[in-house]
């Protein structure tokens, strides 16, 4: 499976450098290495979700309890979580760091991913969620560090889009 182990490790190390100690995730192909890294790490609590919106609640609880967290999902999982994002993360000013695998962009071969790909950035903008693309290993560490800093200072959801050029090697 040509998911980049090297770049997944870069992302993971950057999250650890931000003191993220709880990660919630629902598996998707581009996230396999990240989820395994979290699962193997005794210093990180991995919460495997049944549905992505639960991750908003998990992160809200972790934040209240003083633990930095991140939520990892596919962009369709972000779509699934929108009510929780609006009625918990936005309403109660919760810093929610989301790492969203950005399926359905240029280069996508799976027809079923294309509709979600077409609406992801539109919805992030309409929801007032600051976001950046992660599409090169050069800026992974700095963009994750800055996104985490903004989530904590603005007390709001912030998204990083894990893009094909970073995650997929072929």
């Amino acid at each position: 499976m040509p998911v980049s182990m090297k770049n997944s490790q870069l992302i993971y190390d950057a999250l650890k450098a931000c003191d993220v100690r709880m990660m919630s995730a629902l598996p998707e192909t581009w996230l396999v290495h990240l989820i395994r890294l979290a699962d193997d790490d005794p210093d990180v609590t991995l919460v495997r979700l049944a549905k992505e919106e639960e991750g908003v609640g998990i992160s809200a609880g972790a934040h209240m309890a003083g633990v930095k967290s991140a939520m990892m999902c596919q962009n369709h999982g972000f779509l699934q979580s929108i009510n929780g994002i609006v009625t918990l993360a936005h309403l109660y000013k919760i810093p929610l760091l989301m790492l969203i695998s950005y399926r359905g962009e240029m280069g996508e071969r799976d027809p079923w991913q294309t509709q979600g790909g077409a609406v992801t950035e539109v919805l992030l903008r309409d929801l007032g969620i600051p976001y950046e693309r992660l599409d090169s290993p050069d800026h992974v560490a700095s963009r994750i560090r800055k996104a985490q800093a903004l989530a904590e200072s603005a007390l709001k959801p912030v998204a990083l889009l894990l893009c094909r050029d970073l995650m997929w090697e072929e």
Binding site: A50, K51, G57, N83, T87
Partner: protein, 192 residues
């Protein structure tokens, strides 16, 4: 049994616990009995109270955490039963007040009115200590046993579909509650 009587019966323990409630009448009843900085009222995001309680329980295993959920709410996030079962934090008691109704929006019946068994679903999800209670003494006993057992529990308390709250908006703004609750959790860590 009436929900507010059930809450009142365990209120001395709730005072000493980290409590996450669902919206509306439950939040009003808790505030009527006496607001505390360790109580958080999730006034929207139906279904996520149990997820938030799980996030707190896993982050702070030294603290007793109680979630006051409802049938309408947990039915919107049944996957949460499986996630709680997976991690089954021993410091989490998940109470579901089941009035078989979406009372605050017209009293329309939920699926528990026609036989859906939330405790049965919790057990099937993997929460071994899952029970249904129908009286105050049964409820208090189940709550005490869950705390003594040191094992995650789901307690489904069948309650009457009556509303005692004169209104749902209280004089505690959402963000005041949120920041007070977070500060309380921070302070009890610092004084440890």
């Amino acid at each position: 049994m009436q929900r507010m009587e059930a809450i009142e019966a365990v209120y001395p323990h709730l005072k000493e616990s980290i409590v996450v409630t669902i919206m509306g009448a439950v939040a009003w009843e808790m505030q009527h009995l006496g607001h505390r900085p360790n109580f958080f009222y999730m006034q929207h995001s139906m279904g996520l109270a149990s997820s938030m309680g799980l996030g707190i329980a896993l982050s702070r295993p030294e603290l007793p955490v109680v979630v006051l959920d409802g049938d309408g709410s947990i039915l919107m996030n049944l996957g949460s039963l499986t996630t709680m079962a997976r991690y089954h934090p021993q410091n989490l008691v998940h109470i579901v007040f089941d009035n078989e109704s979406l009372l605050s929006v017209g009293g329309f019946p939920t699926a528990t009115a026609t036989g859906t068994d939330i405790a049965g679903m919790a057990r099937a999800a993997g929460i071994m200590r899952a029970t249904t209670v129908r009286t105050i003494p049964e409820f208090v006993a189940a709550f005490d046993e869950a705390r003594a057992a040191g094992e995650m529990a789901t307690i489904v308390a069948k309650v009457e579909a009556i509303n005692v709250a004169p209104r749902f908006v209280t004089d505690l703004p959402l963000l005041e509650n949120r920041f007070q609750f977070q500060r309380h959790l921070r302070e009890i860590r610092e004084t440890d």
